[in-house]
Symmetry: C3
Subunit: 320 residues, 3 copies
């Protein structure tokens, strides 16, 4: 694997695979480009012709209507032609290999693949395989990365907090299984956030998580102390009542975000969640809908950030 | 619930939830607007830019390819961006609540939700929840209402019979479970139809159906006597051979529309059906395909009526 | 059935149902029209407005994401509105007949139906049923025909070999169940290919295949001797280990394309496959990816050929 599989020889973004090692200037370029697209969502006519005539394939090997929809909207607002493929249900069931599927779609003159896959690394494999000029966007691979979610979270934090270099950000919950958490941590440290904390039970934190540059807390109240940003993670249904956890109720008691616990953070702390939320499990409903919650703005900014990523990747065209 | 949840303070349509209580001038506005769109379906280029750049979400919590397709075509011919979401298969399976799903989609700058839901009232809940400028169209909720079907039926009747105020309209079959019948009855009485009849076995008519302003018949021949319009309802598969009915064959014998029974109606009576038909159950094939049948024109007018509704709801934009 | 159900009274294409009996000038017209579209796939903006405002329905009664995708892309690049309908999962499950489904969609002012159906002849039935001006494209019906695949294969052969009248073409594998093989054979003989061979075990060749104008070989090496074009067919999963064949391994040994066997063909022979491939069953991986393989160009040309067919069928409009 090349050192920077997502950058071209001039250091420009050619794929978006991960926020790990993504240079600060490129993250900032995405955030600045997204600024322009935020206003488009508010217009009467929400379309720009930047990707007109381009073919964007949403390749979802793992079902996620919500994420697929955000990319579909983003691509359509850029005037691209969008093809949705739920690959689990098609060619691979005919025994075709992942790369044969990609080769075939690429031969249809695809310009961009948005890929969600249950296996970590699948988007890398695809990115290395496609010809120059075809872009790959990782829309979530296994436990590894979900870079557009990480970037939209950075956009949201910047929107509310302006300066990353004075912040304390606490990420709470099932960090172990969370590609979202990993993408956030890499982006936060790159952007110069001085203190990133992870909070959760030992069973839901990676063994070597400190190596990512974070502080570990098992006591949520201590972990939230003085935080500017509180990021709650989704507890996957399949973990609840599983061997790693006593029960959803028990989890809520210890690691669910309540007014009581949130009071330990700064008074102007913002509350984030990548969605979909389990109300009453990782977050109390009054907090989810409260004045500190920026969960819905995250979604709105998410469209703009995805438009930014797609327009940066697609602008060059396939023949440069 | 407000007295007129589908009207704004100036009495204009802001959602389309039901034909019950929908003022006559608004029904007529829809029908007149649809006139313009009927001709568009016959053109070489069947598109108008009225909803260009608008995002229309087809939210189908209950599967209906046929109805979803009519709204998809209507929206595309208005140049909207259309996102189809089969919600049964996605977020709600992740345990997300209906309103969280709506909030999320609304945060993606949706302009319109077309909602089909197995629960009566779900589109009302959504309409009350969304922010001003976002429109909700009920595409069928439980047994309650299917207003675009009711309006396209009014368009069809007006097309063939011109004057509502001299008509006898007979609605035949499973009125009890039919949201279509309810939407037709409200629209017909509002438009001044002097005699609306419902015909069916006791087990398939609501107990208090006369309160809707209709006459009840259990004998189909007597009920069709002198009718100008005969509306056959679909007998749901799940009712056939169920406890409410002896058998599909028996139903056909008593309440299926045959030449023999239709002869009791006026010679120029039209025959309608919302589709899909059960030939040989509620309607005999020669009648379905006969000269009095306007079942396929109903479909064609249905696209125009849905374009009319969507353009009336979407024209104002979200920032008025 | 009329003698030429796919031609109008002036001998122009009004549907594309089969390559059998399709006049040479019409095949050549498709190939020449496709030439223009090949270059469109390479452009920055891959759209032309030829079908703007037309409604194309992809009616797939049999699941095939790959084929459906090629038609969807082709239609979108022609600027049509595309509606995808997986009919297996919708109306027919409500007991509606095929022709009622078609009537309903046609009443929505459809301009073109792209039909895949598990029953041979279904697209003919539809073509005979729709009103003048509505076009039907057969996207594969039972074992009968897959004419756009046949035509894209002709395009591919012409691209690499120029002159059909000097070629030896060998088609290898499960000819018995292959609609692709049938469509290829008819097109090849019409275009004047002097020698078309079929190669396979007795159990996988139709009893009277010679009547199609082909030579039969059971020994693959003899059959490939001096061939200019080698077309490998997909071995359907359901055949493997079935009563007609000993095993996939055994099949590969006798009829799988290996370097060893390919050496019998001309040194500049091209290798084709309609996809998706079973690597190690009908074709060895090094051959599939080798210098003689034109399998991916087939896919690229396939989009252009489908654009050509759709533009020829749609250009006249519904009111001519």
């Amino acid at each position: 694997m090349p050192a920077h599989p997502q950058l071209d020889s001039q250091g420009n973004l050619k794929h978006l695979l991960t926020t790990e090692g993504l240079p600060r200037r490129l993250i900032e370029q995405v955030l600045e480009t997204a600024d322009q697209f935020v206003s488009i969502g508010e217009r009467e006519v929400k379309k720009v012709p930047l990707l007109r005539g381009k073919s964007v394939f949403n390749l979802f090997f793992e079902n996620s209507t919500r994420t697929r929809t955000t990319f579909e909207i983003a691509a359509k607002r850029l005037s691209a032609d969008v093809i949705n493929l739920n690959i689990g249900a098609s060619s691979t069931s005919k025994g075709e290999s992942l790369l044969d599927t990609i080769d075939n779609l690429a031969a249809m003159d695809a310009d961009m693949f948005v890929v969600r896959h249950h296996s970590s690394g699948a988007p890398y494999l695809i990115a290395q395989h496609v010809k120059p000029g075809v872009a790959v966007v990782n829309a979530g691979d296994g436990r590894h990365a979900h870079p557009t979610q990480g970037l939209l979270d950075m956009y949201t934090i910047r929107h509310y907090k302006k300066d990353f270099t004075r912040l304390t950000v606490a990420i709470v919950g099932d960090v172990l299984h969370s590609r979202v958490a990993r993408s956030q941590i890499h982006a936060l440290t790159t952007l110069g956030v001085p203190e990133v904390r992870v909070i959760g039970p030992r069973t839901l934190l990676p063994a070597d998580v400190e190596r990512l540059g974070v502080k570990v807390f098992h006591d949520m109240k201590r972990g939230l102390e003085g935080a500017d940003v509180v990021v709650m993670l989704r507890l996957q249904n399949e973990r609840m009542n599983g061997p790693l956890l006593p029960s959803a109720q028990e989890f809520f008691k210890t690691y669910g975000l309540t007014a009581d616990k949130l009071a330990r953070a700064k008074p102007d702390a913002i509350v984030m969640h990548p969605g979909p939320m389990n109300r009453g499990v990782e977050i109390d409903s009054p907090i989810a809908d409260g004045t500190q919650s920026v969960i819905l703005p995250q979604v709105t900014f998410g469209i703009a950030v995805r438009m930014a990523v797609m327009s940066l990747l697609g602008a060059g065209g396939r023949h440069e």
